[in-house]
Symmetry: C2
Subunit: 373 residues, 2 copies
C-alpha cells in the first residue's frame, strides 16, 4: 500500500511524532501500543473487551498459529479477523522470534542459507521455515501488517555471529519482499537487526530502510540486554531513519520508562506481553507506585477497599476493589486473571492516549517528567 | 419477610407453577435457576455478564467465604453485593453441605449435639459451626436468602443414620430460626432431609414445613443417589407441600431432564454448578445432541465453523464458532473457560425463560416432550 503512513505532527521539543497508519481493517493512530494475542487470543479477553479498552491493533504470533490451529485452518475460517471476531487491524510477526527463542532452549534449531529447521515445542515435530513460507503463512492468517522473516540473535552474542545473523536477515528481507510483491491489502514491515553493535545496527538500518517495505521494525531488543543498551540501539538506529516516511515499530518493548524513551526518539508503535502477563501474575499497573505496579496478592490488600488505581476509569476500577481482586487471586478464581489483564491493558492504552495528546500540544517532555521523575 | 412469595399461575396439566419471590435486592421470577458462585464469583464471569445472561439470583457458599476472605471482611466491604458488585439477589447455603462433603473426604468431621467440628480443606485449621454461627456468617455476608444449618447425610447411608441426621437437622432448624428471628431484609429457608427413605422424607417435610421459614429447601439429593431415587424423594416430599404457600428450592440439581422433572412436580428454584463446571471442562450445552452437551475439544470440531448451538442467541454464539472454541481449549487459553461458561449459563437461563413461558400458556408438557422425547 502506498502512502499508508502519514506523520500528522512532529513534537517541538523531542523526536516524538503523531501519525496515522492506514490498514485494510482501519487506521491506527500512532504512537500506538500493540498488545499480544499469541494464539489468536489476547489472554482472557474478548475482541469486544479489546475495543472497549481502546486497543487499535493487536499482535499475533505466526509460529504459534502455524502449529495450532494451523494457518490453513485459519484461512478456511476466513482469516484471523473472522476466526476471532476482531474487526480492527492485526499485525503478525514472522515466526522468527519464537523459532529461535523456543527452539534455542533445547539447542534444536538448525539455520542454513535458505531458512531454519526447528522442532515444535508442543509435540517435537520437525518443521522448516523460509522467508517465503513465513509470508505465505501470514498471508493465510490474513494479517494487515506482516513482518519479514529475520534471525533474532540471542543475547549476549559475539560480533561475528551478530553480523552473520544480520546478513541472513538482510537476504531474507529481500526474499520476503519478493514473495509479498503482489500484496494488495497487506502491509509488510522489514526488521533491523545487528545486536548491540553500533556498526551493525547502522548498517542494518541503512540496508533495511533502503528496501521498499511499508514500515520498519527494530528487532533484537528485549532479548536480555540492559535498558541502557536498548536505548543505545535506538540512538544508533533512529538518526539514520530521521528522514524516513514510514512507521517505526519497536519489537517486544512495553515497560513504562521504555515506552517514553522509545517515543521521544521517534518510535511509532510497540508490541509487548507485559500488561497481560503481569495481570495474570497479580501485578496491577498503577501510577501510585514508583515502579508503576504492585502485587495485588499481598496480604495488605485483602482489606483495601480502594480502586486498583485511583485515576483509572476502566471497567474494573469502576466496579471492583483491591480487596476483591486480592480475594480472587488468593482463591485462584479465573476472573482474577481477566480483571487484572483488562485493567493493565486499559492502563497502558490510556497512557498512549495521553502521550498522543501530549505530542499534539508539544508537551511530551512534561508528560514524561510527570511519569518518570 | 411476610408474603414474600406469590404464586402467579398454576399450570393446568402439571404441578408446575409460576411465581414471584420478593427479596431485598429485587424480585425473582420462578421457576428460577440459581447458578453457583462459591467464592463470590460465578467462575470466570463478571456480575455484568450475569446480568447480560439473564441471571436473577446466584448462590454463594458460606463454608468457602467463611474461610476466604472471611465473613467479617465481606461485612467490612459492605456485604457480598458490594464486594462483588452484584445488585441482584444472593442466596447463601448454610455451610453444611461443604462441611460434610469436604470434611468427610478425610474423615475429619466431628458432629455433636450442638454443631460440627471440621478442618479447613485449605490449611487444616480447626473450626466449629453451629446453627447460630452459620446464620451469623450469612448475616455478615448479607445474603438475601439464607439457609438453615443442616446435616446432609452421605449416600449411601443406613436408615438409622439418616434418621439421626434428620433429627439433628430439625433441632438445628429451630435454632437457626431462633437466631434469625429478628431478620428484617433477609429471608430464611429451612432444609428437608431424610435421605432416600420415604418415612423420613415425609416426616422431615411435615416438620420443616411446620416451622415459620420463608421458603423450603429439599436437601440431601444430588449426593450420589440415582436419578430414579431423586424423583422418588420429590414424589414423597412434594405432595406434603401441596398447600404450602412458600417457594420450594431443590438443592444442587441442574441436569436438563432433572430440571423438567422437578418443575413439573412443583419445584420453584434450583441451584447447580453444572453449566459453569461443564463449561470449564469443554462441554458445551446444546439442544442438538441427545444428552444436551458435546465435547468441544474433540478433533472433529477443529474445523467446524458453525455456532456452538444453532438456536442460541448468546454473545458467544453470535460471535464465535466451534472451531475457535476448540482452538482456545486445545491451546488452554483462559478465554475458553469464560466463553463456554457464558454460553452454558445462557443456555440454561434461556431454558428457564422458556419454561416460565410454557407454564403461562399451560404448555409445560409440550415443552418437556420437545426436550426430553
Amino acid at each position: 500500500m502506498k502512502n499508508c503512513f502519514k506523520v500528522l505532527k512532529k513534537e517541538r521539543q523531542t523526536k516524538a511524532r503523531l501519525g496515522k497508519l492506514k490498514t485494510f481493517h482501519g487506521d491506527i493512530l500512532t504512537p500506538s501500543f500493540v498488545p499480544v494475542g499469541s494464539q489468536a487470543s489476547v489472554k482472557s479477553l474478548t475482541a469486544q473487551d479489546l475495543k472497549e479498552i481502546g486497543v487499535q491493533v493487536f499482535f499475533a504470533n505466526t509460529y504459534h498459529l502455524y502449529l495450532r490451529p494451523k494457518a490453513e485452518l485459519v484461512r478456511e475460517a476466513g482469516g484471523l479477523h473472522k476466526f476471532m471476531n476482531w474487526s480492527g487491524p492485526i499485525m503478525t510477526d514472522s515466526g522468527g522470534f519464537q523459532v529461535f527463542s523456543l527452539g534455542r532452549l533445547e539447542d534444536k534449531v538448525k539455520i542454513d542459507y535458505n531458512g531454519v529447521t526447528f522442532y515444535s515445542h508442543i509435540d517435537g515435530s520437525k518443521h522448516y521455515f523460509t522467508p517465503k513460507k513465513s509470508i505465505e503463512i501470514q498471508n493465510k492468517l490474513g494479517a494487515d501488517i506482516m513482518i519479514a522473516f529475520d534471525e533474532c540473535a540471542p543475547y549476549p552474542v559475539k560480533h561475528d555471529y551478530a553480523k552473520l545473523a544480520m546478513e541472513r536477515t538482510h537476504r531474507w528481507a529481500k526474499e520476503s519482499l519478493e514473495t509479498a510483491k503482489k500484496r494488495n491489502s497487506q502491509l509488510l514491515f522489514g526488521v533491523i537487526q545487528g545486536g548491540i553493535f553500533k556498526d551493525l545496527r547502522i548498517s542494518s538500518t541503512e540496508f533495511i530502510s533502503s528496501l521498499p517495505f511499508d514500515g520498519l521494525c527494530i528487532g533484537g531488543v528485549a532479548v536480555g540486554e540492559t535498558k541502557k543498551e536498548m536505548v543505545s540501539v535506538l540512538d544508533w538506529v533512529m538518526p539514520v531513519l530521521k528522514n524516513d516516511k514510514r512507521p517505526i515499530h519497536l519489537l517486544g518493548v512495553g515497560e513504562i520508562d521504555d515506552i517514553f524513551k522509545a517515543i521521544e526518539r521517534g518510535v511509532d508503535m510497540m508490541d509487548c506481553v507485559i500488561p497481560t502477563r503481569l495481570g495474570r501474575m497479580g501485578h496491577v499497573l498503577s501510577k501510585e507506585t514508583k515502579d508503576f505496579k504492585y502485587d495485588i496478592t499481598k496480604a495488605k490488600f485483602a482489606s483495601d477497599f480502594s480502586l486498583l488505581d485511583k485515576d483509572c476509569n476502566c471497567f474494573v476500577c469502576k466496579n471492583y476493589s483491591r480487596a476483591y481482586l486480592n480475594h480472587l487471586f488468593r482463591t485462584k478464581e479465573l476472573l482474577a486473571y481477566r480483571l487484572a489483564s483488562y485493567h493493565n491493558l486499559f492502563f497502558i492504552e490510556s497512557l498512549f492516549a495521553k502521550i498522543r495528546e501530549a505530542i499534539k500540544k508539544d508537551k511530551f517532555k512534561d508528560l514524561k517528567k510527570e511519569w518518570l521523575d
